[in-house]
């Protein structure tokens, strides 16, 4: 069958009208098992100016490394309150923040495992299609052997790793352009 996916178009500046009902800055309701972490940062454009109209979506496994999705054939997540979905917008300073639990390691290619990570989509005016990136965790020993991180040029890998600021608090920025540009994936 000769079908191609519908072309993407920018989310534009007014996405909150349609997307705010599903804003979720806390991915893990109280009582969901796991180490609670807050990840905060800024979105900066090619001039280093804050992007005040960006939207960030998050997708992650639970603390056992299970996804709340039928194609994770290892069975349902332990706590049905955990959906793994987050959605936050940047504020007038280009800042965003969300709280979640650190995911467990999840299966990777060729029978191996991937280090704990969040899958991230970034939307904004000026992006004709969304950007895909990942958040890994500072100090995680499994990062060194992660099958996706090792595809990234070594000098750019740290753009995908949230830095530990204090216990339970991490910092991770989205740099759209330049020498410190965040690694974006062709997903």
């Amino acid at each position: 069958m000769n079908l191609h996916a519908t072309a993407q178009q920018t989310v534009g500046p007014y996405f909150s009208i349609g997307l705010a009902p599903l804003y979720r800055a806390d991915l893990a309701p109280a009582g969901v098992a796991g180490d609670r972490v807050t990840i905060a940062g800024r979105v900066l454009d090619g001039d280093g100016a804050p992007v005040t109209d960006a939207l960030i979506e998050l997708w992650q496994a639970d603390a056992d490394g299970h996804y709340a999705h039928p194609d994770d054939h290892r069975g349902p997540v332990a706590d049905p309150r955990f959906t793994g979905f987050g959605r936050v917008a940047t504020d007038a300073d280009g800042r965003f923040a969300f709280t979640t639990i650190k995911p467990g390691a999840v299966p990777g290619p060729d029978g191996g495992m991937q280090a704990p990570h969040l899958a991230v989509s970034v939307f904004m005016r000026g992006l004709l299609k969304h950007l895909v990136t990942r958040i890994y965790f500072d100090g995680e020993p499994a990062n060194a052997g992660d099958p996706i991180l090792t595809l990234v040029p070594p000098e750019r890998r740290d753009t995908l790793v949230a830095r530990a600021i204090r216990p339970g608090e991490l910092a991770w920025d989205v740099i759209l352009q330049g020498d410190r540009e965040t690694v974006f994936f062709d997903c």
Partner: protein, 234 residues
């Protein structure tokens, strides 16, 4: 472990590039470093699942969310969500947002000198049925000016956001109206190189969707990425 069957990569010309000079905002926001090819893992072939419990009773009818009816031409927008293999995409969330009939968004940053409508918010949400079908009732949005270039006007459009079955099938797009004279002038519409792909962003007037004595109908079918066929696939 269960093998991961990846989603298809887009064919050249069917999707926009990140950098597109006629759309001025891409200049400081489109990535400049090469993207890193991401093999699809369990993280990309799974994605958020939403149930009907997140929807309100009038989320599908943007003309019925306030005390009165909004000003404008009432329309019905309906279609089918399928994947690249022609299979319906059931039970997936469709979020829409749009300007009112005067071309004004209910948003603090919209400074266009056109009236807000107290009876129109411009937000709709539905979940596709077992055949991938969806249906909204709304009003036809107006065109509006933007500052991309001299005398720039966006053609009338409705923003669509869909999840599909996986993180990899996420789609945000815009639906346009047939015969709009602004389409050939619009950098966002024209950001996709392939004419066939562009034209599929334009809805079709549809007499079968039209309800007598009530509202014109427009059909907008959406295709999400499909999984690669593999010889091992039963």
């Amino acid at each position: 472990m269960h093998a991961v069957r990846p989603y298809r990569r887009p064919m050249a010309g069917t999707q926009p590039d990140h950098a597109f000079a006629p759309y001025a905002s891409t200049a400081k926001r489109a990535p400049t470093q090469p993207l890193v090819l991401l093999p699809h893992t369990l993280s990309e072939i799974t994605g958020p699942v939403f149930g009907a419990d997140i929807l309100g009773p009038d989320d599908h009818d943007l003309t019925h969310q306030h005390a009165g009816a909004p000003i404008g031409e009432r329309i019905i927008v309906s279609g089918r969500v399928i994947d690249e293999n022609g299979r319906p995409v059931p039970s997936t969330l469709v979020e829409v947002w749009q300007a009112n009939a005067a071309g004004r968004y209910r948003h603090q940053n919209d400074r266009h000198d056109a009236p807000l409508d107290p009876n129109f918010s411009g937000c709709g949400r539905v979940i596709t049925d077992a055949d991938g079908r969806y249906r909204f009732v709304t009003i036809r949005p107006g065109a509006y000016p933007w500052r991309n270039h001299h005398n720039a006007w966006r053609p009338a459009h409705i923003h669509f956001s869909l999840f599909g079955r996986a993180f990899a099938t996420r789609l945000v797009t815009q639906m346009y109206f047939p015969g709009d004279p602004l389409l050939p002038l619009d950098p966002i519409f024209n950001s996709t190189a392939g004419e066939t792909s562009r034209d599929r962003l334009v809805s079709a007037f549809d007499l079968d969707t039209t309800v007598p004595e009530h509202a014109l109908g427009f059909r907008f079918d959406i295709v999400l990425r499909g999984r690669d066929a593999t010889p091992l696939d039963p």
